[in-house]
């Protein structure tokens, strides 16, 4: 696979000297973030299996794409994740507690930290891409140096909103970054069947915007590419389409069985052993003398503690109440909402003729 931009190869070797672009501190942070989100992901699957969480969409295998891109962003930048991009949300500043709450079906699970713009996970496919055109457009009109980054998958490229977003962002030169994680499958349908296009990135040329295909398991390539797209965007040069080639090791969601549509064990093992995003950075850091087993043990302990603390916080968070469903439908509730709420929220034993 040489048809994409790669900086750190799967064996942890640097293909170009990026040491003056990515600081040691950033590299260590990249590693720490990838380790914690992977642990978070595994924990979430366990919680779902134990019945402590609802259906969950795992991302293991895609850590470099999500962590690298979100780490490149600045605090004022807008993030539009899909339902598989909680690693990106966490890295951009969402608390793990909130992400747990979201997957526990809590009404407060998608509240963004007040000093960030992290949108709730977008469930329909590609629809958030046009929102990211709009928020970026507004940033530009206000003269604010912020970008809007929308995540989506390879299947999203077949949706109309994908094309409308790329087209409009190109026309109005909005500071939008379209970040595709091409993990090869839209649930079960392989990319070869999704489109006759060889790549997602090549579609950028139809809209005369830059399209870049990168190794999505190489966090250096991801980070550098997003940084370059941000520079272009804030310089008024418009959007960039990035296709990060990656792979989801697990199922589409905890309700999915990938054995039905692919040679799951062989493929997952192949990607895991040959192209894993976390392992290759670890090798590089070890070879550079920045990492060792002692630091690894300390990190793993810290990560486990942080996730446990977030889980405790989520599980002890006040439960969603029936009254919450009636809030925030409108700024001022309609008479229908007000009345139906009164009807719904009746103290025990006080329900009309049944009292």
């Amino acid at each position: 696979m040489t048809d994409f931009y790669q900086v750190l190869d799967p064996k942890g070797q640097l293909l170009e000297d990026t040491r003056n672009q990515i600081s040691e501190e950033t590299m260590l942070k990249m590693y720490g973030n990838m380790v914690i989100v992977r642990a978070f992901d595994r924990k979430s699957i366990h919680l779902q299996r134990q019945g402590r969480m609802g259906t969950y969409a795992p991302f293991e295998g895609q850590e470099a794409s999500q962590v690298g891109s979100a780490m490149a962003l600045l605090p004022g930048d807008w993030l539009f994740p899909t339902y598989r991009d909680h690693a990106a949300s966490i890295v951009h500043g969402q608390s793990m507690t909130r992400v747990f709450l979201y997957w526990m079906g809590h009404m407060d699970g998608s509240i963004s930290p007040s000093d960030r713009h992290i949108m709730p996970p977008c469930v329909p496919i590609a629809t958030q891409m046009v929102h990211a055109v709009g928020t970026a457009w507004a940033s530009k009109r206000k003269g604010e140096p912020h970008v809007s980054l929308a995540y989506f998958g390879d299947g999203a490229g077949s949706e109309g909103d994908f094309h409308e977003a790329l087209n409009m962002a190109g026309v109005f030169k909005t500071p939008t970054i379209f970040f595709c994680q091409n993990n090869g499958y839209a649930i079960s349908v392989p990319f070869s069947q999704q489109s006759a296009s060889r790549t997602v990135a090549q579609r950028a040329s139809a809209y005369d915007i830059p399209g870049v295909r990168i190794d999505g398991n190489d966090i250096f390539a991801v980070w550098l590419t997003v940084k370059a797209a941000m520079e272009r965007a804030t310089a008024g040069l418009g959007p960039t389409l990035i296709e990060a080639v990656t792979y989801r090791y697990g199922a589409h969601t905890t309700a999915d069985d990938p054995k039905k549509y692919r040679d799951q064990e062989r493929l997952a093992e192949e990607w895991r052993s040959e192209r894993d995003p976390v392992q290759r950075l670890k090798v590089y850091l070890e070879q550079s003398g920045l990492w060792n087993e002692w630091k690894e043990t300390a990190l793993q302990t810290k990560v486990a503690e942080q996730i446990e603390a977030a889980l405790i916080e989520a599980e002890s968070y006040p439960k969603s109440q029936a009254a919450d469903m009636f809030k925030h439908v409108y700024e001022v509730p309609s008479w229908m909402v007000e009345e139906q709420q009164k009807d719904a929220i009746v103290p025990e034993g006080k329900r009309g003729v049944l009292a």
């Binding site: 928020t135 009109r141 809007s148 925030h328």
Partner: protein, 327 residues
């Protein structure tokens, strides 16, 4: 001060005054810039406010509405023009899954202060899919408001209220009334509240509930029956389809004891059913006769050669009134 304006002029003036009043207001749509809109609602605004605020967009309804959602979330007040109501469907998902839900799913953190204006309704000899009345699609969606003016005065006041409303408003403009008549419209900025009906003709024998272009049909039928039979029909212009003005509906029915709903939308699952349901819930025992509906038929709006046969006519409304009063 006021002068006589047509509905399209009143709409244009509302847009102009809100653009002047609030720099966050932006207009987006197809052919609304240099061309001034296919019905000329935005005529002259491009020259006055420039391409940054009067935006000729690509021909992409999901893209227009979706990007307007983003603009609204990030501090702008987007006013979208969709060329005809039946062209809104590519953007339907953006309206119902995102615009209507953004406040809800972010627990009030982000909201979409967007207005979608679109001409609707039959009677202008338009080509296929230029004449639909599908207001109940939108009235069914929590988080949206749906407004329909029937006069130039209300069009201006309701549009200003819609632009100032912090939630998404679907603003349906009866195409047939754009240039049908003129009336006195104040020069200044004023508001007509969303969710409030208006009794445009007092009566004691029967209440007619209608909106948009059907108001004139209802009024004409009421006038003829007053002349012919001395019956006084009350005509209530609901003006807002969502939320409905329940108090106004009930007050009128309790007074007259009879009701008729007139809408050009298809009968089944049209708003008439909802109005009857409100009457059923709270004013059943005031009724002297079943509430009748005179509506468009449950067929696609036909080609214009027979669109008048699809639409409720004065004759059909009169027949409905007679049947209800003589029940």
């Amino acid at each position: 001060m006021s002068r006589k304006l047509s509905m399209i002029q009143a709409i244009s003036e509302a847009l102009d005054q809100k653009l002047a009043d609030d720099n966050r207001v932006m207009l987006l749509g197809e052919d609304i810039g240099v061309n001034g809109g296919v019905f000329r609602a935005t005529e002259g605004l491009f020259e006055k406010y420039g391409r940054e605020r009067i935006v000729d967009t690509p021909l992409a309804e999901a893209g227009i509405i979706g990007s307007a959602i983003g603009l609204g979330m990030n501090g702008m007040i987007p006013v979208v023009e969709i060329q005809f109501l039946a062209f809104i469907y590519p953007g339907f998902e953006q309206i119902v899954s995102h615009a209507a839900r953004m406040r809800y799913r972010t627990r009030g953190q982000y909201h979409v202060p967007m207005v979608i204006r679109t001409p609707f309704g039959a009677g202008i000899r338009g080509p296929e899919l230029h004449s639909e009345s599908v207001e109940s699609f939108f009235a069914h969606v929590p988080g949206l408001k749906v407004v329909v003016p029937s006069t130039p005065f209300d069009a201006k006041g309701l549009l200003i209220s819609a632009i100032e409303d912090p939630d998404p408003v679907i603003f349906l403009e009866p195409t047939k009334l754009y240039r049908a008549f003129k009336e006195e419209v104040p020069e200044e900025l004023y508001r007509v509240p969303i969710g409030k009906a208006r009794v445009i003709r007092e009566g004691s024998h029967l209440s007619i509930f209608a909106w948009g272009a059907m108001i004139r049909v209802a009024e004409e039928a009421a006038q003829q029956l007053e002349r012919e039979r001395g019956w006084l029909c009350e005509v209530v212009d609901l003006r807002s389809i969502s939320p409905l003005d329940r108090d106004a509906i009930l007050a009128s029915v309790k007074k007259t004891g009879r009701a008729l709903v007139v809408h050009e939308a298809h009968k089944t699952a049209g708003m008439g059913a909802e109005i009857i349901s409100i009457i059923n819930d709270e004013a059943l025992l005031y009724l002297k006769a079943p509430v009748k509906r005179v509506t468009g038929y449950d067929v696609p709006v036909p080609q214009f050669a027979i669109e008048d046969d699809y639409l409720p006519t004065v004759a059909r409304v009169k027949q409905g009134i007679v049947e209800t009063i003589q029940y």
